[in-house]
């Protein structure tokens, strides 16, 4: 460690003011602070001690919370492939194939995003922000495993530049960066983001009757098909009968984006985030409450099979759980006030179900619901903050 430290100390002058590599100071700073927490001490006035936490550690906590869905997603990607082509989905074989498919996506996402971050840090002269540790991992988890790598790179660059850097970088973005990447692909390259894209076939053929459809797509179908009475019956008549039993929907061994199929894994991640105090439990609870409440309301009206689908299905199909745990709770784009968090989360849940059920063009509503509420979060906060101000003004005498 000492040698490394000495090496860095020797390089430092080149990057400091007047050095020949001055331009790249923030690149050096990022590398240096990654290796060593700096020797900065507190100012002469003000707090003399600081909490042991820093932004890197916070972000790292979120990355760690994403590991369960990631590992599960790697296995599930391989598993779904072998299932679809009619081979025995052995555990290690599935993991192997999953790694082969998922790792390149992660690497591309980190590389493309990291490059943009670095470029902006140098041009705009601000430190490289650790927020990208999280975004770079989130993006792969919400894409199908069959996505072309160039699209991953393009979407990441688009999202980092348009959703974050143009607003001034980490902490100032309005929209969730990863969701923006997904929305970009969804609207720019719909054929790679919807339909039969969720399962990787390779050069093999799917077994007869296999559709690779997600439960949400099946639920939509139930609405359109004639003579179908319930969503569950569509699930049951779909290939591989019990694949869409509630337990499987919860466990997540179904087709879908890489990291979002397993509600169980998301709940483990959620437990990590809540226990460490990094993710807001209020938002998570209220999203689920909102989705469930809207599901119940749909049941009560019950005009078509999808509306009649039991409300709890909404919590386990699609990526509601993933979106809730990892996207809605993004501290920057969520509502910042405590009351605001309840409203923000609840509305995400409600809007997700509305989009799912009433808009056949968008099978999954979480993405748009989160982005929509990201935009409305400042408005919610505005009213909550105003209420606080009013309490103060009401007792003023002058």
């Amino acid at each position: 460690m000492k040698a490394l430290r000495e090496f860095l100390d020797k390089q430092r002058p080149h990057f400091e003011k007047g050095g020949k590599l001055e331009k790249y100071y923030y690149g050096f700073e990022a590398a240096e602070t990654f290796l060593f927490t700096p020797n900065h001490t507190t100012a002469a006035k003000g707090v003399q001690i600081r909490d042991a936490v820093d932004l890197k550690r916070m972000m790292m906590t979120v990355v760690i919370a994403m590991i369960p869905p990631l590992l599960f997603g790697i296995w599930n990607t391989g598993y779904q492939h072998y299932l679809a082509v009619g081979e025995d989905p052995e555990f290690w074989k599935s993991v192997g194939l999953g790694l082969q498919l998922v790792l390149p996506i992660i690497i591309v996402s980190y590389a493309a995003g990291g490059a943009v971050e670095g470029l902006f840090a140098i041009v705009r002269k601000h430190p490289i922000n650790e927020g990208f540790l999280v975004t770079g991992m989130l993006i792969p988890l919400i894409l199908p495993a069959t996505i072309p790598l160039w699209q991953v790179a393009l979407a990441t660059v688009f999202a980092v530049v348009i959703a974050k850097e143009v607003f001034g970088g980490t902490g100032m973005n309005v929209l969730n960066v990863a969701m923006t990447a997904r929305a970009f692909l969804y609207f720019a390259y719909p054929s790679d983001m919807a339909g039969d894209v969720w399962v990787y076939y390779g050069d093999k053929q799917a077994v007869e009757g296999y559709t690779g459809a997600t439960p949400l797509a099946l639920a939509q179908e139930a609405n359109l098909a004639e003579g179908v009475t319930t969503v569950q019956s569509t699930f049951q008549s779909s290939w591989f009968g019990d694949m869409y039993e509630p337990w499987h929907l919860f466990f997540g061994d179904i087709p879908g984006s890489i990291g979002e199929t397993s509600v169980l894994m998301c709940l483990i991640g959620s437990a990590i985030l809540i226990a460490t105090g990094v993710g807001y439990w209020k938002i998570q609870v209220s999203v689920f409450a909102g989705a469930f409440a809207m599901g119940l309301l749909n049941n009560a009206i019950g005009l078509n099979p999808f509306m009649e689908m039991p409300a709890y299905y909404h919590l386990i199909i699609g990526s509601l759980a993933f979106g809730t745990v990892y996207m809605a709770t993004d501290p920057v784009s969520a509502a910042h006030t405590e009351t605001g968090k309840w409203i923000y989360g609840f509305l995400i849940g409600v809007i997700t179900v509305i989009i799912r059920v009433f808009n056949p063009a968008y099978p999954e509503g979480v993405m748009l619901a989160v982005l929509l509420m990201n935009v409305f979060a400042p408005l919610i906060d505005f009213y909550v903050v105003n209420a606080n101000k009013k309490r103060r003004i009401s007792r003023a005498t002058v």
């Binding site: 927490t37 600081r50 909490d51 501290p331 103060r392 005498t397």
Partner: protein
Amino acid sequence: MSKVIKLRKGFNINLAGKAEKRLAGDIIPETFALKPTDFHGIKRPKLLVNEGDTVKAGTPILYDRKMESVMFTAPVSGEVVEVKRGAKRKLLEIKILADKEIVYETFPKKSVSDIAGLSREIVLETMLKSGVWPNIVQRPYGTIANPEDNPKSIFISSFDTHPLAPDYDFLVKGQEKYFQAGIEVLRQLTTGAINLGVNADAEVSPVFSQAKNVTINKFSGKHPAGNVGVHIHHIDPIGKGDIVWTVNPLGVIQIGKLFLEGIYDASKIISLVGSEVKTPQYYRTYTGACINRFVEGNIKSDNVRYISGNVLTGEKVEKDGYLGYYHNMVTVIPEGNYYDFLGWLKPTMEQPSFHRAFGLLGFLNPKKEFVIDTNTKGEERAFVSTGVFEKVVPMDILPTYLLKAIMAEDYDEMEGLGIYEVIEEDLALCEFVDVSKHDVQAILREGLTLMQNS
């Protein structure tokens, strides 16, 4: 009668090096100093003494041309040995070489029963001249009170919840008479109530519990439950145009003594604490004492920071620096000027943290007394609203929004969000817990200065 106000928000930082409740004796160092920088808002100090002059305890040393009636006086008698100035000839320290035997300026002596009959003018005159006045700090802004104001109430907090803070019950022991006299004096200065905040979680010294003519309010909770700003917020909040005065109990005693004994007695008990102190305990000395005599031979290592005050709101001083006017403790902790390999990733049980982010396991051991150094443990980053500020401020105030309003210099927002109700110490915990390592207290002071000058 009194009510208990329960505060749920806050955070106690449990540090190693608590003072043993023992008075180690009197220490009169060679020099004492008056530091104009201890007071917010001294604009144009006018020096009244020169190097070589002899002064008594209570002899005026300087005043502020902006508020000419308030005198800043010598805490001890002796010879003015140095007037230290900084950049642009800013007055930093006026050093006094102390006499062996302190000689006092004399002021009219009163009996307890006299005080109630004194007119406001006479009370003010004595207080302003003698040097006890700066003990009265006004809210908003945390500046020295303007004697021409009539505050709507006066607040005294009888306990300090800062890390390693001295036990006020110990500091005021046996001073009932002076404390009560001080209260009687303060009563002449306001038409409103005198509020005494006491700790609901501990036994309260009779000095406070048996004080008369005060409204006693009990507060229970973690730090900052002892902050007078928190008390004001819950009892008699400050709105636009309101003025509230605050006094430290030791200031009240000083005021009482001035009237009963006719002297400005700047003696006080201070504590020397912190993980680097060999034997943390209490000493008796005077305001503005040089700390070298206290720390000499009593410190474990060389690479330490000396702090006048506590670790959240105090100020770094040199080994031969001076105790601040409002401070009654010296804290010594290790300097953190080292690099830490992968310090942001390492799990640790040795660091306290309000957060429980990955690897911060300090919370598993709530009884542990931590040794914390001055390392910032991370670099400054953009503001990320993590919602923690709101969890450490037990007031109906949104610190994140307030700080953003200050940075945007938006006067209406600052006012609406309650800038009048807070000073640095109230948001010090925000600065401690901040993930992005901002200087929250400095930002707040900027905002207060903006409002003051508006």
